[in-house]
Symmetry: C2
Subunit: 346 residues, 2 copies
Amino acid sequence: MSTQPLFNVAVVGATGAVGEQILKQLAERNFPIAKLKLLSSARSAGTKIAFRGESYTVEEAKPESFEGVQIALFSAGGDVSKALIPHAVRHGAVCIDNTNAYRMDPETPLVVPEVNIDMVSEHKGIIANPNCSTIQMVAALKPLYDRYGISRIIVSTYQAVSGAGARAIDEMLRQSGEVLAGNDPKPDILPVGSLPVKHQIAFNAIPQIDKFQDNGFTLEEMKMIRETKKIMNDESLEVTATCVRIPVVYGHSESVYVELKQDFDVAEIKSLLSDSPGLVLVDDPENQRYPLATEAAGKNEVFVGRVRRDLSNPRALNLWIVSDNLLKGAAWNAVQIAEHIAQRQP
Amino acid sequence: MSTQPLFNVAVVGATGAVGEQILKQLAERNFPIAKLKLLSSARSAGTKIAFRGESYTVEEAKPESFEGVQIALFSAGGDVSKALIPHAVRHGAVCIDNTNAYRMDPETPLVVPEVNIDMVSEHKGIIANPNCSTIQMVAALKPLYDRYGISRIIVSTYQAVSGAGARAIDEMLRQSGEVLAGNDPKPDILPVGSLPVKHQIAFNAIPQIDKFQDNGFTLEEMKMIRETKKIMNDESLEVTATCVRIPVVYGHSESVYVELKQDFDVAEIKSLLSDSPGLVLVDDPENQRYPLATEAAGKNEVFVGRVRRDLSNPRALNLWIVSDNLLKGAAWNAVQIAEHIAQRQP
């Protein structure tokens, strides 16, 4: 529309797996961009990237890169966010941060648009994008939370390697080829790039995503626990998580047990889920239809199925929740927030 | 030993994936065999199989095949067990059945030696071997059940394709090669061979193992729920299961949340698990050590790790349980039962 104001937008981490998807979403959504700045580490600076038919040269991200920038989308790792976001804020940019750097900062809203878009207005220059495995779970559970109340969540995840970056995808595919050729696969990135011990991911399941904490949970598990409470704005919510990496390229799957605070009807739950924005109910056991990572890949929605009342606890429900971890789990959620900011500003 | 009595043993389904492992276990354990009979469907009859350096010809399994047989191990599908086990029993054989045919029959003991070996003495000719995903879970939980009591179990599984037979392994490896070559993989067996809809298993997670029941759970999930109660001899035990097939060849992994009836100390739990026969504690987060399917493959033990107290329920514990589904989950558990029978008989 001709009256739509345009914005100077920066994408930090433009050459990464999530940065690539952010640019794709900005283009597809026809985001109102006046000037686009693509930023990265010194190593990737100079890379040429096409956006809406124009070629952009990626520049090294520096404190002064944010002069004149109004909206900055960060996905270049927590250290980069910590170092540069204060400068971007100083220059007047609203920063949407896709890393763990500010998520639990009490001053920073942690936003999933379908759950708590109103929190955006409380930002002090930074809005945090939650962890991928958290986003899809809270998006699916929010309609149930609002209607019945939720007292407890127990989740086990089946997470794609793309969550660990492009090099982890390459490693998993390479190892798969090595196993098929009858050779011993050489692990060199997963489970955690910065830690010394590596495990084979091809044809395996690794119950470690991110570093172990003193309580025996991994950081990924603690992110799911803490972020869910913060996004739902309910510290009384009981959350247990076990996070597992499996040999899938795109799409996290989650087996979720949830205790509701009121009696419910399964048919009502299903219609509630299928009527909620951003959710797609895929639940037809007779025709063997349920959400699958391969079918969720490349789509923005969160897919929910295997909806069934628990057999031992009549107030509990079991669900299977699947979404593309790079899209709703990262790029699409961030661009949704950016769209909201763009619409709010005069 | 020279005084050890010898037994006439029949293996039904000798050419299948589990039958092959049963023969391997009988040979490795130097089982006291007088005469060995290898039986199969008409289609596989005539196959030659080497056992302890001798060549055996597989015969078609028929009602009269069991004359003179003292111990018969069945793993040729539920229909074969239902059709032939009554004849084997009539001929005086003790049948160890690895199918679902008799597991929930109130007359038939359902046995995991580490849990309820005493039930063997109550057999009326048939002893049922539980489902693979059940066996490893109850074996790991039994020491906790005895020491603290268990009120509730919530399990999500990560199950290997070998549980669906040799053709499912072939399919998964073939599909993986097709994806790596950039082609669309053609599914034709999984999730359930006898049902019309097929899904890609390579680089995917399929939340369906066996057929759906009217309550929305799959038969595999109902097996875990019902068999766990029967083996633990505790109908009050609350069990919830979500069973998922993932692209792993050998070794089922399980994320298990368990509520105990008494307070516990995590260090005490760990020493209890590591002192229990058949269990191996692999739990050293600092050195990134936990059970892995690739490391459990080919081993008879059940591996337990990621032992941690729940953060919201101090009486609850989270565990990661891994075992080779063809060994402890099938062949080894059956041969353990056969050994027990051999030792009890004069």
